[in-house]
């Protein structure tokens, strides 16, 4: 054991506080007079505020701004709710009007399409038939776009029955488009076949060859264009 070292170390036992100080501290603590024992708890905001004007200012500012925020939020909520209520009413009426108008348009378009298809089947002039086929396709597409737009804007306000009608109409349009495309393709194919049996100039023969290649590759518009350039 390091006895001499311990003996040296024990000299530090001479380091002691003043007796009077220790007595006074004890009294302070047991009476609760010590500043630590009197310090307000962290949650005692008012107690802390009394001690610090900075803290008081910060708390006051927070109270005022949160009050203001709460008030404006309330006002905004009331205002927004009121606005929404009005908009909903308006929207409903607007949407329904739009729907009715659109449905009428669609009806008209459908009639046009039906009529056009009839015309197509009876057409003798190929150019006239091509133009009609294009109108049919455009109308069918127009009809689809209209249905999509209404769907995007209705936000669930649309009546179930109306929506069902729209769905049905959309299906019809899609069918129409398919039919129009099929008719157009069939027509162009028949035109090509018909032209191939004819005696053509070199230039026209080349145009026909190109049209046939375009048609086979699925470039229907180009094929139709090419055929329309062939002079008869």
């Amino acid at each position: 054991m390091e006895f001499s070292t311990i003996k040296q170390l024990k000299k530090l036992q001479g380091v002691k506080p003043e007796i009077e100080w220790t007595k006074s501290l004890k009294e302070q603590i047991l009476k609760g007079d010590h500043y630590y024992l009197n310090a307000p708890a962290v949650w005692d905001v008012f107690g802390l505020m009394k001690r610090s004007w900075v803290l008081s200012s910060v708390v006051a500012l927070l109270l005022v701004s949160s009050g203001f925020f709460a008030y404006t939020t309330y006002i905004n909520k009331m205002f927004v709710q009121d606005l929404l209520a009005r908009l909903n009413t308006t929207n409903q009426s607007i949407n329904q009007t739009k729907l009715v108008a659109s449905l009428e348009e669609m009806k008209t378009s459908l009639q046009v399409i039906s009529g056009s298809l009839d015309n197509l089947k009876l057409a003798k002039n190929k150019k006239e038939a091509l133009v009609t086929a294009s109108v049919v396709k455009a109308t069918a597409k127009y009809g689809q776009v209209t249905v999509q737009n209404i769907r995007a804007s209705d936000g669930g306000v649309v009546d179930g029955k109306v929506l069902a009608s729209l769905n049905e109409t959309e299906k019809q349009f899609q069918n129409m488009e398919k039919m129009a495309t099929a008719v157009q393709n069939e027509f162009i194919a028949s035109l090509i076949a018909d032209l191939k049996t004819r005696s053509l100039t070199v230039n026209n023969a080349e145009l026909l060859k190109k049209a046939e290649e375009d048609f086979t590759a699925g470039r229907i518009e180009e094929a139709a264009m090419g055929i329309s350039w062939i002079n008869q």
């Binding site: 390091e2 311990i6 000299k11 036992q13 506080p17 220790t22 501290l25």
Partner: protein, 168 residues
């Protein structure tokens, strides 16, 4: 409550000098040591009343003291070194020459002690100056008794070497 006051009073009487010394040897300023000691006992009293089953109140006081010392050393921006010439050595009957002799001795030991690391200083102070049992030291420093015993032995050896350097 009366019982608690009595108990704490005894705890205070038994430990105030030790805690003061424990802190003083780290902070080297009488005023700071007094302030921190008062914090330790004020906090101790507050917790003593709130928690009824502190297993080793003495060790608890040392734990608070360690925390106070760490917090103090962390926040201080300027540290005025106070030499042991200003320390009030308890025995007022001693004459000045004797006081001077004691103080220069103390200065040597203090310097040697300062060369050890924190835990080594703590175990030596608590074991040889405060005469605390190993169990209390272990609780206060949050280590097991075996480790404390080993640490005491090693720290003493290092202190001896340090004292040898100081006297050269």
């Amino acid at each position: 409550m009366v019982d608690l006051t009595k108990q704490f009073s005894k705890l205070y009487d038994d430990n105030v000098v030790k805690i003061y010394r424990f802190i003083y040897l780290k902070v080297e300023s009488k005023q700071v040591a007094e302030d921190l000691t008062s914090q330790v006992f004020a906090k101790g009293w507050a917790r003593f009343r709130a928690i009824t089953d502190i297993k080793n109140p003495t060790a608890y006081l040392y734990q608070i003291a360690r925390t106070e010392i760490v917090d103090h050393l962390r926040v201080r921006t300027k540290f005025r070194m106070v030499s042991l010439d200003n320390v009030e050595v308890a025995d007022n009957k001693q004459n000045l020459a004797e006081k001077q002799a004691i103080n220069s001795d103390l200065e040597g030991v203090r310097k040697a002690l300062k060369q050890l690391d924190e835990d080594e200083q703590n175990v030596l102070i608590m074991r040889y100056l405060d005469e605390q049992p190993f169990k209390t030291i272990a609780l206060a420093l949050d280590k097991n008794e075996g480790a404390i015993r080993v640490m005491v032995h090693r720290a003493l050896k290092k202190l001896k070497e340090g004292l040898g350097d100081v006297t050269k």
